[in-house]
Symmetry: C2
Subunit: 328 residues, 2 copies
């Protein structure tokens, strides 16, 4: 059993010695919320009885759902473990009787104080240094899978465990594979003033994350995320020749939604960068579960594109106007 | 009993003669999805047992949640009743055994065919011609309230009914009140190339709707929606003197999140248009439920701002590049 598997397996088993699990909330801020997308999407698709929530921490604190209570699990994340709203959300959840699971990169930080269980995930600015199956977003999927397995049961559990064990190989290969394309992309996109991120199903979270954490936050490029299916119901009117879209094409059941958006953008000559997991060997994973790894794989290859873009723009990913610098 | 109250009361009572209601999905595209925000937010806050979903139609069709079945209600909307993905979503939901409730403006349209119950809502380009309590978004709240009342019970039900009966008065007064400000806004904002929409809690849906349906779709202005709480976790880095933000300030429990964002934008000299429901007599509604009307009120006063903006830009709200014009 891998470290991650053993960790989540024991946590959920222990929770279930103390309470039922009927409701699960994923709670965090920014990239620590969007990192939960893979777990949320999995449960939205697969759960028959569990109820699933996904909320930014301060909304959870101020408009705490009535249902949070002793049959709930609240899963929270904070890279440094000190995001004030997330620490407070964990305290509120605990006070209402929920089990709290805190994901942090930096151990023994304030979030841990209000977490019944703590998971230390791996992270690095240089992606090759981490095990992709032990990153924050991967843990959201691990937790979702274990919760489903240990409550309702999950027929594809073995395939899922097998996929996790193969995932590092897929990621490492994909990151090598996109290196050249990332350099070309960076050169051709470095002067864009607005970039739309698109995706659907398992990869919508990665699209939203790229928009808020990389383009807006780290590159100061105007950006919005548009669901590939929603595109046709309003946002597509912004498309004219040259309008820039990055589309994260998934290998899941919503792939036809991505394909339709691609056809439209190409027809009306938008500027399109497509990152297609089908071309990045996602098919090496078991067919029954590969869909759930699309967003995780997109996250990992975007690391390569982002570093290339930041370099080409001479705007390092660590540059900030406000974060870590001013009170807010 | 008002027409709307009578309609939803009978529909939900009838559903419950045939099945239990354990899960509710709101399904639509574009403004017909965001219009469901008031109902979704209400149930997210108040429900103890119900599970709530909110999905764009084509994702519902392709990645249909396992849990959709005979204890589910699926609520769908389409203005003309002919949005292909939404019609198909209703068919899929029915086939899986769920009760379907279709909201349409145009009666006897394809969505009605797959709706066990149909609601004809009011709509008009000129807002003063409709009863705000019978608009699409208001029906999402009506349905949510009746479902909660008739399943788990809802302590503030009488206050809610009373608020609905007063709502037209609040809206009419607010629409008069903002007329002058809308003209000033339109003049000062007509040349903006990018506008960010912000909101939280009950009004986040209205902020998102304004971004996708008005700014992107009807005005071809680049736009994204940012949750007031999420702003500080990435997106705020885009703020510099003059960056344009429209913030829909709610009177709900998440108002402190809006206030914090306003303070930050003002401090760093962003260009800010705040639409504060506290200044638009939302307090005329019973305190226990007024929060749930914030998004509806924002929708209604935005109608006034949007007409003024479109006029100042000489870009009518009906102008389209693609919709109704090309196949897609």
């Amino acid at each position: 059993m891998s470290v991650a598997h053993d960790t989540v397996n024991k946590i959920i088993a222990d929770v279930l010695t103390k309470q039922k699990i009927e409701r699960v909330w994923f709670v965090g801020c920014g990239g620590s919320l969007t990192g939960f997308w893979p777990g949320k999407y999995f449960l939205d698709c697969e759960a028959n009885h569990l109820a699933v929530g996904y909320m930014t921490s301060n909304e959870f604190v101020h408009a705490t759902p009535e249902a949070v209570g002793k049959n709930s699990v609240v899963i929270l994340a904070s890279q440094q473990g000190n995001t004030a709203e997330t620490v407070e959300a964990a305290r509120v959840a605990q006070q209402k009787g929920a089990a709290t699971i805190g994901l942090v990169y930096t151990p023994e930080t304030p979030l841990c104080k209000y977490s019944d269980y703590t998971i230390n995930y791996q992270w690095a600015r240089y992606p090759e240094k981490v095990d992709p199956a032990q990153q924050k977003a991967a843990y959201s999927l691990w937790l979702a899978v274990e919760i489903l397995k240990q409550t309702e049961g999950y027929a594809c559990y073995d395939a899922m465990i097998s996929a996790f064990s193969q995932f590092a190989g897929v990621v490492n290969h994909a990151q090598q594979q996109v290196k050249e394309d990332a350099l070309r992309f960076a050169e051709q996109w470095k002067d864009e003033k607005v970039i739309y991120m698109m995706g659907s199903g398992p990869s919508y979270g990665a699209a939203h994350q790229e928009s808020i954490c990389i383009l807006l936050e780290m590159q100061w490029i105007h950006s919005a995320s548009i669901h590939s299916g929603e595109y046709f119901h309003g946002p597509f009117e912004i498309t004219e020749p040259g309008t820039p879209f990055i589309l994260l094409q998934s290998a899941g059941r919503t792939r036809p939604l991505d394909e339709r958006a691609i056809r439209f953008i190409e027809r009306y000559q938008g500027k399109l960068q497509c990152i297609d997991v089908e071309k990045l060997d996602i098919a090496a994973l078991p067919a029954s579960v590969k869909e759930y790894f699309c967003g995780l794989l997109h996250n990992c290859v975007l690391d390569v594109y982002n570093l290339a873009l930041a370099t080409a723009r001479n705007h390092p990913l660590t540059t900030r106007r406000y974060m870590w610098k001013v009170e807010y």
